[in-house]
Amino acid sequence: MLSNSIWRFRLSIIPGSLISFLLLLLAFGIFYTLFLNSGFENFSSVLITSRVQGLIKFTLFQAFLSTLLSVFIGTLLAWSLAHQNSFRGRDFLIALLSSSLVLPTLIVVFGIITILGNNGWINRSLLYLFNFSFENSIYGLGGILVAHVYLNASFAARSLLHIFESIPKERYKLAKSLNFSTYRRFALIEFPAIKLSLKSISSTIFLLCFTSFAIVLTLGGSPSYNTLEVAIYEAVRLDFDIPLALKLALIQLSITMFLVFLSSNFNIGISNIKTSSNQIPWKEPKKLQFFQLIVISIFTILFILPLISIFVDGFGANFIKILSNKLFLKSLITSLVIATFSSIFTVVFALLISDARRNFNINYRVKKTKLSSFINILISFSGNIYLAIPSLILGLGFFLLSQKFQAPLLLWSLGAILCANILMSLPFALSIIYPTMQKVALRYDKLSFSLNLNGSKRWLYCEWPYLKSSVAYVFALSFCLSLGDLGVVALFGSNEITTLPWYLYQLMGSYQTKDSAGVALILLVLTLSVFIFLPKVFKNVANR
């Protein structure tokens, strides 16, 4: 191997490692700041109170239950979709499943309340048809589970469908010729194929539900259904009890750090790879076909109804009033600016971190030693920091730092929101960009050595053609995640610092139903348009 090229590889480790180092420093800084300010001597007294123990138990319980249900339903749906390859609307349903990842949680909550709320569509229909309605409130554990499963089962289904469809067709042919039953087929072919991904998808969903904020805040209902994350928010914004918030944050941080470090090498399990249209060479028995179609139909109805409700209710809003409201315009512009910057940073960070990681994972680029393996683990961990330090805790850390350094709160808040949005998108961005960069390196390293392609030429001929669709997808994904996030802004939100989700939350909180329906519709249309059209626009520009 050419020594020049080796040195180029070794030097290219620096930018990505530097970013990882800064992210780890940020995590450590926040941990340290929280620790310093939490009053360590009273820490154990907080931990043993029944309220805190109840919070920890409920947070773990709802995350466990949400994960179990999401993974079960997601697997069932992905399996049904893989075997029902030719019904009309399949592509549309899969596109919807993909978009669930970027749907603003507040929109989902809004839709679920419109359908399942006390005065929702179902109760109103029952009342009209049978003079009967359900008394059970959507607020509480039920509501939290419904919203979590709504978002995460779709995410699991979309990720698993790709794996079901990548199972070599020869396996199915072999199983068919060996007269496997449906159960045997699943046990011997399909389950072994999805097993590894199930593990990473489950850990991702568990962490997302463990640190879930907007859903629990809006659907939790009473303090008995609070999670650690919401309790931190309430301690800061409602009770003004910063020491308690810090202690709770420290407890949550310790648990999530532990969980993320355990699974630091996992793949978050999403891709922008299109699903295959190849038919699995196995004609299902009629009863099974019926069952699979029922599963798909039920899920489609349940998934689409809340979205339709947002359109139906949203159309009744007074858009002239909404669009002429200065606070709305300010929220919209702030959201768009933050989303643009956070997407740019996310893409750049993901490219640099992936480049550093692939150098450590390809033996001829960087020799494997104990030190290089350790650095590699740290770099992987730095990309998943958000799962350990959710935005609310990040916001709390920034809040404390702003007090210490006495800088303008506006600046710190915008910095915190931007930072949180980048960290939030980074695990997804890395799971999309890293595998492609690794593949490109393995495929083209030797060829580019022999042709002496280095620097910008290598980027132009070898990297960019394969990365451009992933980059466009990551940009759109990051933009939408940022657009819909109600995390840090919940701590800093005011008339001075406001984003669209915060503005919507304020409207919902003050029972301005019509206006909130209109804003929800605008946010939904904006998110879906960006998610669907931005990669296409990007592709056209890149191909010119």
Binding site: P168, E170, R171, K173, S177, L178, N179, F180, L188, P281
Partner: protein, 212 residues
């Protein structure tokens, strides 16, 4: 005798029309360019694709209407013939019991066949630890255990090194002749066909043309 007459299928504007007769104890080789439809022929015979017309008669019985699993044949693919998380013995036993609860006599039979393909000492190893040639031997052993009179080989030894490929081809020939099987081997390697096949066909414009 396996009689395939005017077995029709259409894909991507090409009409395939295959006719082929294979006697017991005979090995027929089918070659052709990539995408010419060689594997389509095997998929049609095996029941993985529904033909538009034609017949597949074996021992005076039209097997064309039978489901894939009920046809008197067994097939070997180029890849993915084994289940990596199962042992060699279990992979072979899947040929007769998918519940993997074999009788003692079935285990003895499977072990005998593993011995026949030269894998006696590998029976407790996981399939994931085997080389390409060894994996194909496992698949061959399973095919033999199934005791079906028709053996279909879909580019089974492509990708193996020269020496292993020759060994495997000779093994197939020996076993096929010993058991009197009707064997059809699809490959793009004409030399492989010449080594073991009694007759060689080439797929040209969707039809089988005899090369001898």
């Amino acid at each position: 005798m396996l009689q395939i007459d005017n077995l029709k299928y259409t894909y991507d504007k090409t009409l395939y029309d295959f006719s082929l007769h294979v006697k017991e104890n005979e090995i027929v080789g089918v070659t052709g360019e990539s995408g010419s439809g060689k594997s389509t022929l095997l998929d049609l015979i095996a029941g993985f694709l529904p033909p538009l017309g034609g017949s597949i008669i074996f021992k005076n019985r039209d097997i064309n209407k039978l489901d894939a699993e009920k046809r008197p044949l067994t097939i070997l693919f180029q890849k993915y013939n084994t289940f990596e998380h199962l042992t060699v013995l279990k992979n072979v036993l899947l040929g007769i019991t998918t519940s993997l609860k074999p009788k003692a006599s079935e285990i003895i039979k499977a072990k005998e066949i593993l011995n026949e393909v030269g894998l006696k000492e590998f029976e407790d190893k996981l399939a994931s630890t085997l080389s390409g040639g060894q994996s194909q031997r496992v698949a061959l052993a399973r095919s033999l255990l199934r005791d079906k009179p028709i053996l279909l080989l879909d580019e089974p030894f492509t990708g193996l090194d020269f020496e292993t490929r020759i060994k495997m081809l000779n093994l197939v020939k020996k076993i096929s002749k010993k058991r009197g099987l009707c064997t059809i081997m699809v490959t793009h390697e004409l030399n492989d066909c010449k080594l073991i096949a009694d007759r060689v066909y080439k797929v040209i414009d969707g039809k089988l043309v005899c090369k001898d």
